[in-house]
Amino acid sequence: MTPELGQLALILALLLALAQSILPLVGAWRGNNALMAVARPAAAGQAVFVALAFFILVWAFVHFDFSVQYVADNSNLQLPWYYRIAAVWGAHEGSMLLWVLILNVWTVALALFSRSLPDVFVSRVLAVLGIISVGFLCFILFTSNPFGRLLPMPPDGADLNPILQDPGMTFHPPVLYMGYVGFSVAFAFSIAALLGGSMEQSWVRWARPWTNAAWGFLSCGIVAGSWWAYSELGWGGWWFWDPVENASFMPWLVGVALIHAQAVTEKRGSLRAWTILLSLFAFSLSLLGTFLVRSGILTSVHAFASDPRRGTYILCFLAFVVGGSLLLYALRAPKVAGGKAFALISRESAILVGNLMFTVAAAMVLLGTLFPLLGDALDIGKVSVGPPYFGLLFPLLMLPVMVLLPFGPFLRWGKSDVPVLSQVLSRTGIAAAACALIAAFFVHGQLKAIAGVACAAWVSVGIVLYMAKRWREMPRGRRYPAEMAGMLLAHFGVAIFVIGVLLSESLSVTRDVRLSPGQTATVGGYEFRFDGVMQTTGPNWMAEQGVVTVMRNGSLVAEMHPQKRTYSHEQVQTTSAVDPGVTRDLYVALGEPMDANHVEGAWALRLYTKPFIRWIWGGGLFMMLGGFVSAADRRFRVKREADAVQTILTPVRESQA
């Protein structure tokens, strides 16, 4: 009975979403306060019903209700409860429901924290979010119903894909969706601004904390996904330029550009149209990502079971939302370049260069991702461009960003003095050269590693110099407001990330070895001794578990247990063993038994040492933190009454910044 209630809840949510999208729009157009007032209660009601539907699906999983097709397909009696909950978003239907749930979380948060904004504006924003919700609820109800019945009820279900049975699965998709979907808020703000035609700057200030928070979540989600791929899949890599990874990376890149463009528009009034366009792009790319994953038009490790009907539906929805918003942009975007003029050497120019690089990078990733499709379309066969394409172009595009990064905070709005900059240049330059020299001693002429150290020094010394300047020049308590602290944290994250990438890429050592029990192999100065394989069992798997003892200079470093798990239905899944460390990871994956008769007990093993790889994710987490901290700036939470005061205050702060 309850699954039908879930479906009913979704239908009611759809009706409320329709009310939320149509009535407030009409109200805002006609100036009818009663209709505009529908927005908040409708949003709240929709959220309640979506949450109810989601909870009912969770309930069905927890209580093994195999009469629900989706539950029977993605769980079984042996699956532990935490993976049964994660299984809710383990396949297409449920993950769509999670998508809508998270959209509702953002909508309700917006409805709650927007009381100080003008009613006309808020009702338009909520209506746009309502339209998006209508699209996705229809998608779920008409093509991807998670509550479909399976009769007669099977005694046991199939299984959740073993790759998904990992702690990463409980965490990565919800956080990633928080980021993806969070860009819908900036999108809705832009549409509301276009509809209202009020090209005042204030809406950009309201949108900024939402954009920063969404971007923070997206950073966290991508980091979690990367770490998961590294720890689970046994390939030892952290990024594969897989179509679905790219799908999350494109909104992230545009998000970086958007965050900076919003800062310019808010503080100086320039780049208004560009900021709007970027908000449209960021969310459009999120939608595009959803399309790519679910339409099955690209092959990927992440691909959901595909169905051309679903692809066609999302494409139509994509065309409506993205095409419609870009058309609206063409009609209503500010015609004249507004805002204050800026000189060639100014913060605006630097941000513009950065924006250009990030946007082009996103376009480059999009092109590379869709290349196999282009190959089919132009009839040149199935061609895909892999890591060589991305690995060459991406660093090239990011180089100017790295070069400009230390100067960013020192540059003034409008026009900047050259002497200050040349002082920064000489200091960061000397620091980078010195660090590169020191690094050269340790890394045996690995140019990539030296470049990584130099680049990180270049960026971080610039940040430290700026922090010192603020410390000297500003009174206590006003040195590092949250917005600036967030910026410094995120930029510092870039330095950490770069050093992690370049050091681990250049200094990692991989060896594939055949070892009999008792034999050792030396990799990167560590001695790995294979002590044989034994059987072990988990809640729903049996595994062959290797024992590998790692020594360095005669002292024990770690005992590692890589596994090869066999789940029900004979699915085999490698679970590699990782010994994490600040300066290096040790990584062991179990291959195949090498002698069929199990006389010697020899196995193929893959051994890695990966210096500084953790810094990659550390850098990502710093960026995430930067997004959250700057979103929390008090300046973004001004009450409406205080707005007048704020506008007087703002110029004062600008001159300090």
């Binding site: 149209a273 339409s295 690209l298 092959t299 494409l315 993205v322 870009l326 063409a330």
Partner: protein, 179 residues
């Protein structure tokens, strides 16, 4: 006008995506062309199922084309494919070699005994090492190898009457035309 540029760019993108959906409805997106097509088959030396002492190698098979069909007794899809092979393997006009993949010989013999043996010869690869050289994803898979030992056609997944009529038979016919 320049404000319309993003819109038109999106129209192009949407057209490409629409094309993708249409293309996939008529093509198999997972049909990744094997890098082994038109390349020499990897060298192999594998024992026969019914007589493990007798080894079959790539060199011993040179001279005329043959089909290698990867199967296993544990493989569910092979059970689907099996009746098709029973019915049609003799009509292909070339020898069909069964390639027993990661399987216990006793299980394979029992399986063939129960369902019938469509193969002219069965070789076993218990460890699956040679299968790695062939790039086998999983059973069933089928390779068409010509008289010079070059792979001419590959099918991942079960052979069906349609696949045999539309893909495999033309590939065999092409071999006969161009020696």
């Amino acid at each position: 006008m320049s404000r319309l540029v993003p819109f038109f760019a999106f129209v192009l993108l949407a057209a490409l995506l629409g094309f993708g959906i249409w293309w996939n409805s008529s093509h198999d997106p997972t049909a990744v062309p094997s890098p082994l097509i038109n390349k020499p088959a990897p060298a192999f030396v594998l024992p026969k199922l019914d007589n493990p002492k007798q080894m079959v190698s790539k060199d011993s098979m040179l001279g005329k084309p043959y089909l290698v069909n990867v199967f296993a007794s544990w493989c569910f899809a092979c059970g689907e494919e099996h009746p098709v092979l029973m019915e049609q393997s003799k009509q292909l006009g070339i020898p069909v070699v069964g390639y027993d993949y990661k399987d216990e010989p006793a299980d394979a013999k029992a399986w063939l005994g129960q369902h019938g043996n469509p193969y002219d010869m069965v070789i076993t690869d218990q460890s699956g090492h040679t299968a790695i050289d062939f790039g086998v994803y999983g059973a069933p898979e089928t390779f068409l190898i010509d008289g010079k030992g070059v792979i001419r056609y590959k099918r991942i997944g079960p052979l069906t009457p349609d696949v045999i009529a539309q893909q495999l038979m033309p590939a065999i016919a092409a071999l006969e035309k161009a020696p």
